[in-house]
């Protein structure tokens, strides 16, 4: 282990969440006690209040705020819903139970709280994230999507019934699912010295079979396409708590690039949240220039791909030299290639040749 910061990071984080939720409730109580109509205030998430912060290297919300007050008849419904959602989040967190967005929608009915559809409850959950400044996974509302991790990292569970139990993440060679239990686990011991994040499941399995975790002392993370937030959270923790460099390998196309970018700089949708991105992670391939250099089997860029590249060119997150160069190369060669394209040189070429060359170049 590089440092001891992580030792109780999860426990502390959970305490902070519960405290924040309860403070939100106390604030409402206070208002009522003082004969005020209850209200709350939060940063506006409207598009004209989202800015790119080049120091934080992520999107943030500006100064505009919205106030929800029971004095306004149109606000009573969403304000009440938000207060209920905070109550439910507090129950989940204190009882250490997890839930899903869908479950929250149905659970509301057990409290005779009404949401007209799941869209409405999802929005209120995002409001609560904005008010308390933590993502819903932190108060135990998880999506269904699961990605995977594999490597010489020992975790210690905090899940009831599993508290204190440890597991080394090389235990199951299909990869360990990143769900609530893993997300809420502490990092207990780590022998790896880097993290390799991989877009495609087939390649993740190849890397495990070819013992990349061993040969390159790497923790392997399967992002399963766009990385779920729990996975982005784990990548950040590996980078910040354990000080491991993070290298991201995606398909060589604008969509793959953007998978890497969202890990690095987050998304505009999550501008109300911190601690989900890993600014020092590096997109390591498949670059447009790799398609040329390795003569990879490729497909022509579609109109949609080209449109997307022009959008990315204007995106403030893509200001760096590497990004500009690769966008330009994509537009020049008008080609894209998948990670699996390296198999044209044999199944293990990507591990034997491409990966070491890339890692060496990235470490410079």
């Amino acid at each position: 282990m590089r440092n001891k910061k992580s030792e109780s990071s999860i426990k502390k984080k959970k305490e902070i969440i519960i405290q924040t939720l309860q403070n939100f409730g106390l604030q409402i109580y206070d208002q009522l006690w003082n004969c005020e109509f209850p209200w709350t205030k939060m940063p506006s998430r409207s598009i004209n209040n989202i800015f790119y912060d080049s120091n934080l290297r992520q999107y943030i919300l500006g100064d505009k705020a919205v106030k929800r007050s029971a004095t306004n008849i149109r606000h009573i419904r969403p304000l009440t819903q938000m207060i209920w959602t905070a109550l439910f989040a507090n129950e989940l967190s204190t009882q250490k139970k997890t839930s899903t967005l869908r479950d929250v929608f149905y659970s509301a009915q057990a409290y005779e709280m009404s949401f007209k559809d799941q869209q409405e409850s999802d929005n209120i959950i995002t409001d609560l994230e904005t008010v308390i400044g933590h993502s819903r996974e932190d108060f135990n509302v998880f999506p269904e999507e699961r990605s995977a991790i594999f490597g010489d990292l020992t975790i210690e569970y905090t899940l009831p019934g599993y508290e204190g139990r440890r597991l080394n993440l090389t235990s199951h060679p299909d990869g360990m699912m990143i769900g609530p239990a893993l997300t809420n686990a502490e990092f207990a011991d780590c022998k790896a010295d880097k993290v390799i994040a991989i877009e495609k499941g087939g390649l993740f399995t190849r890397f495990v079979e070819e013992r990349v975790h061993d040969k390159f002392k790497a923790i392997l993370v399967h992002t399963a396409g766009q990385a779920p937030r729990a996975t982005r959270d784990i990548l950040r923790r590996l980078n910040q708590e354990l000080e491991l460099p993070v290298y991201i390998f995606t398909d060589g196309d604008p969509w793959g690039m953007h998978i890497a970018m969202v890990i690095i700089s987050g998304s505009a949708n999550a501008a109300h949240l911190r601690d989900l991105n890993t600014p020092d992670a590096k997109w390591s391939g498949v670059w447009a220039s790799d398609i040329v250099e390795y003569k990879l089997p490729s497909d022509k860029l579609t109109e949609l791909d080209i449109k997307r590249l022009h959008e990315l060119r204007k995106d403030p997150r893509y200001r760096g030299k590497l990004w500009k160069k690769e966008i330009k190369t994509f537009l020049n060669i008008k080609k894209k290639a998948e990670q699996e394209a390296f198999s044209r040189y044999g199944l293990t070429y990507i591990v034997d040749e491409y990966l070491p060359t890339k890692l060496e170049a990235m470490e410079e």
Copy 2:
């Protein structure tokens, strides 16, 4: 463990696959040796050769066969492609490496074997399945989709580098991924006495958190929607090797019903394969009649849902009494409900009340 059948079932199966692939090659060699133009014959997969076998309780192929012969110029390409695919499958199997459909497509280029697109190579892989009578997972070509399993079952890996290592499938409470390593593992020890398959990930997590595996001595399987073939294979093995009853819980709608049905009776697409379905598995809910009985929050059936129900009514797999009754009820009440709908009675109602009631009824 109920019986010892499983002890080397995987090893034996793999030996049979390799033998079958090599016999296919030897047959081609023999033909050439005998100055014959090489050819092969396989059952036709055309729609008019697919029949429902009510003894096997699955779709099977009829007597129509297709012959591919190098005497026919139009056959030379697919025949050559199939022979190469068998060669590649043999390499994967003997070297104990796994691959994906996508990888096979690109790998062909390493052998200067040409497929015009992945659709073409996918089709040839299905041809090879038909010729050798085993599914592609058996010769180590896996899809990207992963589902999960959790419960008191100890497996023994056969994967190189992991051979003989054992793992209990309660080790990681987010569930153990069902990938190549788990699919190729032997069942070493089992303390559970039933299997519960669950469509939704949120509910799978809920069941683990509420210790359903413990309280009901159950192995939990997350099908992640329509169960991938590797998962259907595991369900069948749990049922046949370990003689565990299998109960399937899905959403209460025609699509959920059909997830259960494909586990039980397979699909027409896989009529050329055996050993993928579990005829004795039971669809245990959410039934249309549960929606009524439990007064579940529900949505109106869409036109598409209703159309689907009418299709299912004509489907030979849906001849059983339960199926007929539930299809009728769906059409009567014109409603559907999700598994999470039980959360309206609190998060644990489904585990505390619904599940034991259902299991008791099913065991009768």
